[in-house]
Each structure stands twice: as structure tokens, then as C-alpha cells.
Amino acid sequence: MNRSRLAANAVAVAAAAVTLFPIYWMVLSAVKPAGEIQSLQARPWTLAPTLEHFRRVLGAENFGRYFLNSAAVALSVVVLSAVVAFLAAFAVTRFRFRFRTSVLIMFLVAQMVPVEALTIPLFFLVRDLGGVVPGVGLNTLGSLVLVHLAFSLPFAIWMMRGFVAAVPEAIEEAAMIDGASRAVILWRIIFPLVAPGLVATGVFSFITAWNDFIFARTFIISATHNQTLPAALLVFFKPDENDWGGIMAASTLMTVPVLVFFIAVQRRLVAGLGGAVKD
């Protein structure tokens, strides 16, 4: 017993070391003086930590703006995706309607589309939509919200399905008999019960939107004030010599908030994934 416990600990520590290493190296390189980064004798520590790279990144044009843009896009996607996916998941689990199977298959197939293959049609779609609906055209943050929202939905609905299905219909019926309206039932009874699922889907849609390069580069072509964080990062990649200190400092600023958020909801994540894998 004791020995197996020791072995479990050892393996867990080893696994943790491997998974954390790239992040550790990123943060370390962000605080290493420039000379040490280029050194041919790389050390896994530094005796002269510096904030020069962070100063350079934060002093670079518009980094704060890009950060806020990314946050606005990602949070909008999280909220909208949760609402739309919840409604859709409720419909496919509680109603029997024509085309229900077709709709489910469409959700599954939509999950299999490689986004890189769609950048050209999406570019034209967003351009044309911009003419009809203001705020979602090229160079707008709305276009990023729209596209990320749509691509996050199939998985979100799939995850939510398990949660909605797990809510006993008897509860809703009892509330209905007590005279509660549909909206009240939905908001006061079902919503709290499916909350862990919403956390998990929220985490997923957040990281894809937050870390996205491809859509940001496709749609935000000339409006630099509407760029997102990944664009700020690209500034430090140079054809002759990459500014690794800058890249790593920018990546650290980009990764740490997500990591903290992730760890904060870690417990709910396991519960949340439960809905997706139950079926």
C-alpha cells in the first residue's frame, strides 16, 4: 500500500514536471536577460531576473488594447455560446420533432470541419454579411465573435445534452403544476442544475477564442485597433532574428490569465465533462 502510494506520487510528479516544463521555460525565458537567452549554455534558472521584456511588450503599441479586444471577444463568445447551446440542447433532449436526427447529424458533422480549409469562403461570407448586418463585417470584433460562436456550438451542444437529459422531467412538471412559467422553470430550476456543464463548455469556447490566430488574421486586415492578442505576439517574430524574450513575455501575459482561470474551475471541469461523456 505504502509502496504503491509512493510510486503513484513519483509518477504524478514526473508527469507534472513534463507537462509544466514548456510553460516553465516560457516564463523563465520571459524574465531572463537577453544575453542569457542567447547563451549556448542554457540554464534552467536565472540569477538576474529582469522585467525588461515585459516592459518592452507592454510598452509596444496597443498591447493593452489588444488584450482587452481578446478578452471582449472571448467573453462574448462564452456567454452567447452558453445561452444558444443551452437552448439547443434543451430542444434536442426534450422535444421530439421532425428533422431532429438531421439536426443532430449536422451538429456532429460541423464539428469535423477543418477551419483552415474554410478561411477563403469565410472571408467572403464575413465581407458580405458586413454589408447586411453592421458590426460583423471585416475588421470588426463582431466578426470574430460570430465565427467563434458558430464554431463553438456543436461541441457545446453536445456537452450540454448530457446535462439537460440528466435533469428529471418530473421536476419541471412539478414546477409547472405549481404555476411556474417556462422562463422561471428554465432560469430557476434547470439552469442551476446544468451549471457545471456550462462551466465546461465556457472553458472550451474561451480558450479557442482567446488563442485564435487564424480568424483574427483572416478578418482583421486593416483595422489595427481591432487586432487581438495573437497579433501583438506576431510583432516579435522577425525574419532575421526572433525576439525570444519579447515572444515569451507576450506569451506569458497571454497564457497566465487562462491558466489561473482554468485552475480555478478545475473541479467543475471534471463534473462538467461528465455530461459530455455520459451518453
Binding site: N9, L40, V84, A117, P121, L122, I207, V258, A276
Partner: protein, 301 residues
Amino acid sequence: MQQTSAPARAVRALAPLAWIGPAVVLIGVVVVWPVVVMIQSSFLKISRFGVVQGANGTDNYTKLLAEPDFGGVMARSLVWVVAVVAITVAISLGLAQLFDQRFPGRRVARWALIAPWAASVLMTAIIFKWMLDPEVGLINMILRDLGLLDALGGADADPLGNAATAMPWLIFVAVFVSVPFTTYALLAGLSAIPADVYEAARIDGASRLRTYWSITLPLLRPALVVATLINVMNVFNSFPIIWAMTHGQPGYSTATSTIFMYILKGSDIGESAAMSVVNFGMVIVLTVIFLKVSKWKTEVS
């Protein structure tokens, strides 16, 4: 007993629409419509600058199939998806089992496991590429200090520049970024297994291996199927890892179907669209085969 008027029935028939409508419209317009355009353009002749020059019949497909690298690319995509998913699932099964036990370091280890998931896949790939750099790569320096590498800067110090070593490194990075989600999905599956079945097995005197094989694995199957399925789709369509680390080079030796599609976009948009359609078809076929093999349907009903 229940009497409903025609309008009421119509309202009831339309009710699901209000719930599912937003999702269907969004996915229809933003995902399905571009797919339709992609399929259409695979039958069009398109100039390098994106000007449509008319119908092209199936010429794009004929040209694609005649590409000398096409067979290799497709075979490599299959190897890529099977290797990455199989290794990911095997490691995740072990880790999930481990993290389901109670031991002092569990919480911290679980936190650490989240890290590669929260980080951007592209950044992870860039960091690994940097660590494998022939001149200044950390991994090469460690190998040199261990005496496994003669000197920095040479061909030996460039694992990504060599077809035989580049692919294993790419697979390693793909596994690295896929393990966290998979392990968490399996952990969720494990936590759904009631403790009393284990208790019963223990009383029956079943060995640990026996218990795992006959109780844990079958009960874990729904979680395993879903986690594997999501991995198959993601890995097959994965683009940033290979693109950031090798661009599919040397030659086309590390190019999978998505990379090949992207490369073709630079020379012939119609042919690239044809490659996208082939890619899409492959994912669907793989998914169907997987669902058949895993008897997903029977699991659900």
C-alpha cells in the same frame, strides 16, 4: 381526451424551432454554407489570385490524385491520426487511473496537467521548435551535455530537419497537447463509476488487473468512445503543430492532408478546395468507421 386545435398544434410543432433556431441558423450560415462553397469551388477553375475562370469539371480532383505526393500525404495523415490518438489514449488511461487515487500530490499534479491545455497550441509548438533549434535549442544542449550529441549546429542537431526524426517529434507534441483533455474526460468517466461495484469485486476476490479489465474498462467505455472520437476529429484536422514546427518539410515528408491543402492554396485554389473535400470526406469516413467499431449506437440506446 386531449383535444388540441389546429393552430395550437402548429404552435407546438414550431416550438422547438424557437429553441434550436439560433444554433441552427448560426451553424448553417457560418459553418455549413462555407463548406458548400468549398465543395463548389473544388469544381471550379480558379486563378492564383482568386478569380473564378469557369467550371472545371472534376479536373481539380484528377490533378490532385495525380500529384506525386498525394498518396504519401494520405498515408501519413492516417499514421498521424492513429499514432497520436492511440498514444494519447493509452497515456491518458494511465494518468486518469492514477489521478483518480488519493495521494498527497494529486491536486498539484492535476493542476499541472491543465497547463498544456490552457496554453495556445501554436505557442506550445513554437516553444518546442525553439527547444529543438539546431543552434540554440535547449533539448540539443541537454543532449550535448549528456554526450549524446557531438556539436550544436550540425545536421545531427536538427531533428526537425530530418524526415525520420521530425515525425516522432511532431507526434510527441500532438500527444502532449491532447493528453490533458483526454485525461480529464476519462477522469469524469471514472468518477461516474459507483464505488460499490469495486467493493463487490473486492469481496469476490478479483485481482486488480482483473477488476480493471472486467469492471473499470467496460464502465469507462462511453467516456473512452467520446474522448477518442473528439481526438480523432481534432488530430486529423490539426494544423498549427506541423505548420509551426516544420511547414510539412523536409520535402513533403511531414505534410498531412491539412498541411498539403494549405500548401496547395498557394498555387491552385481549386485543387486546394478539392483537397479540403477529400480531407473532410476522410474525417467523416474515419468517424463512421470508429462509431461502427465501437458500437456507439448500441451504447446510446
